[in-house]
Amino acid sequence: MPHINASKTKPNYDVIIVGSGAAGGQTAYTLSMEGVKVLMLEAGRDYDPVRETPMFNTSERAPLRGASTPDKPFGYYDATIDGGWKVPGEPYTNASKRPEDEFFWWRTRMLGGRTNHWGRISLRNGPYDFKPYSRDGLGFDWPISYEDLAPYYDRVESLIGVFGSNESMENTPNSPEGILLLPPKARAAELYARKHGKKLGIPIVPIHRAVLSTRLNSKKIPRWLHPNNPRAQEILAKEMDLRMACFWATMCGRGCSIKANYQSTTVHLPPALATGNLDIITNAMARTVETDSSGRATGVNFVDKTTGLDYSVKGRIVVLAAGALESVRIMLNSQSIHHPGGIGNSSGKVGKYIMDTVGGHVTGQIPALENIPPHNEVGAGGSHVYAPWWLYKEQHAGKLDFPRGYHIEMQGSRGETSIGSFDSLEGLTKGSYGNRLKKEARRYYGSHVGYAGRGEMIPNDDCFAEIDPQVKDKWGIPVLKFHWKWAEPEIRQAAHMHKTFAELIVAQGGTVTSKIDPTGKQAIYNGGQIIHEVGGTIMGGNPKNSVTNQFSQTWDVPNLFITDGGPFCSNADKNPTLTIMALAWRASDYMMDEMKKGNI
């Protein structure tokens, strides 16, 4: 019985994993497929996307037509359960009272975590992204290079299924032939932006997203991923065959009952469970990593949210995959004689260098997109194109006033309408009502575009998390207090986004409909709002100034690993999820090697 309740654990596991999202899912998959006995703890409830996804439910059948509310911040049909920037009973605090320094922390309490609703954008870090300090003297180099991680990117992309194309662009790696699935055709607004982006030198190309544009090859991939392991091959082939190709309807953020996109609950956990090597306890909120008299990790203490009772589970290895900041919290709360400042924190770096992605957004209205003949543009339930950072050379030559790049995610299509979709009609039609308003609604529907910049943030000393000495959550667990301050490089980058997106809209003959901020200070989103938080337990080559080694193994405690975004040394503009999974796979391989060698 794979899903167990808190009182039914085995006396000992090889590995205890805290968290079930991209990091926990990948770690559990890699280990259990190779015979390692794993126990996974998830703080939220069990969740079954096949049964629970409201695939074809229309807005008319949702309260408030599906609009965002404090209970469901991304809308009623968003897959997130018990989550958001506020989680009932689980507060956090901010050190600064200044609104611009406020950090927002998104959590999702459900099996599979944020992978159930995420945008599925799956971009590889490039070679520069692992050696940023060497390139421009800012931030930190990673102790690994692109070549170290490339084989794991190959594996993750093959396992989860990613569509996209190889464009051979600078610092935007190609995948080996045959790994990426065919990219879906671009939509009207995407094509129009592409056409006019060219004039500005902005390259608009197929995006990479973890959506099956075609079914995965269940004969070839399992054999390649699990050589000499027929049982793993058989299990994976069977699970792959249960995944359908995208049928070009419904939004990915709802989750996918036909398993056409990646979420941990449809891709990682089913095969892992099928091995019989994985037990999962949901509603298990981790408090601390427990240690023995030598300071080694022995297991995890957690509270069973259904009964309020505390339990301890034992494992040879403990893996924190709770999300970068939740893992920081667990470590800082795990204090003992050996680990007075929290487990793994002899460097004092646990909680330091937390990063998010720089976000900037501009909207516009494009007359050329008015009165387009109705046609189906739902597609893969999210973007089909993006613009990878295109100004590496100019930046390196010192022609820009900010050091790191961003990519552009493009919004604009004849997608499903929502409350607010037509708020602009008052201005566009100078206040019309009556039958004319209906004609205007048809005319303008689909003519609005939005461009979202997603840029690299350089780690800085002002952005860190610590334990709030006063505040505890409803389980009595001390909470995190955030310190946040955007630095000049990020603010200037956000200003560049605004300027560029406005130019892109004007180049299409359009009108900018949101405020352009030339200073960047208003343009930049608050820390945490892009929900790409990484860092806090950075990896490095030196135990004095980093928390883990290159295999995400803590320097202080050899049997404690962190496989979420915590060990990131930088936060490239590339969305972090694919890199989290690649690092988790690599760390899991290393764990198995070390166990075999008897080192752990």
Binding site: T53, F56, T58, S59, E60, A62, P63, L64, T69, P70, D71, K72, Y76, I81, D82, W85, K86, P88, P91, Y92, T93, E102, F104, S165, K185, A186, A188, L191, Y192, R194, K195, P206, C246, F247, A249, T250, A368, L369, I372, P373, H375, N376, E377, R414, G415, E416, T417, G420, S421, L425, E426, G431, S432, Y433, N435, K438, A441, R442, Y445, G446
Partner: protein, 215 residues
């Protein structure tokens, strides 16, 4: 003045509910309270049954308010054809009632504007024609709407009416075009499984001056 509009239309039960909800929501209004205070245990909660889409709160509009809402919504989006019915034919007034009755901060702010605005438009009708809004003929109704339908051109004495009309029109549009019928009317095509995604048809590419799809 505003108080008077409110008490004229809200029955006691609704008024008490509104007052209680308004009191309860106060800590929520401070944006700094993000992550620091408990969300209110109201509304459909953080784990609703997405399949049933149940609306747990009661509607608060009085029959009089619903009648005025119906008339005004149908002036904004009238019946044009079988494919393009009026706002009330797709139950926009019921949606409006659901919306303003919801116990969330944004909706409660809208509730204040809508409830006070519905009272205002009757009061304005009375002032001009000695009748309530629903009793006016279309030309009379339009004469009021014309004075409040575009805030930049609105005379100072009608600013409140214009603010109300903006909100009411946006909710009418949102309510109408999020129905299955409204989506179809506006030209949304989707929510059907396809064997393949072909991108824009040739006539769309042609209109955009794109010779052929790049991939």
């Amino acid at each position: 003045m505003k108080q008077e509009f409110t008490s004229k239309r809200l029955d006691r039960r609704a008024a008490i509910k509104w007052m209680l909800a308004a009191t309860a929501v106060v800590p929520f209004i401070d944006a700094k309270s993000f992550g620091k205070t408990e969300p209110l245990q109201v509304g459909y909660g953080t784990d609703p049954n997405l399949m049933t889409g149940e609306v747990p709160w009661d509607r608060i509009m009085t029959p009089e308010q619903l009648r005025t809402t119906t008339v005004l919504a149908d002036i904004i989006l009238p019946h044009a054809s079988k494919e393009s019915p009026s706002a009330s034919e797709v139950k926009v007034p019921d949606f409006m009632d659901e919306w303003i009755s919801a116990p969330y901060e944004n909706q409660m702010a809208d509730r204040k504007i809508i409830v006070e605005g519905l009272a205002w438009i009757d009061s304005e009708s009375q002032r001009r024609y000695a009748k309530d809004f629903h009793q006016l003929d279309l030309a009379q109704q339009n004469s009021i709407c014309d004075d409040i339908c575009y805030p930049p051109d609105t005379r100072p004495e009608y600013q409140f009416g214009a603010k109300f009309f903006s909100k009411f029109r946006n909710l009418t549009l949102g309510g109408y075009y999020t129905t299955d019928i409204g989506m179809k009317d506006v030209g949304y095509v989707g929510n059907v499984p396809l064997a393949s995604f072909e991108g824009p048809p040739p006539e769309v590419l042609k209109k955009l001056g794109i010779e052929k799809a790049p991939w």
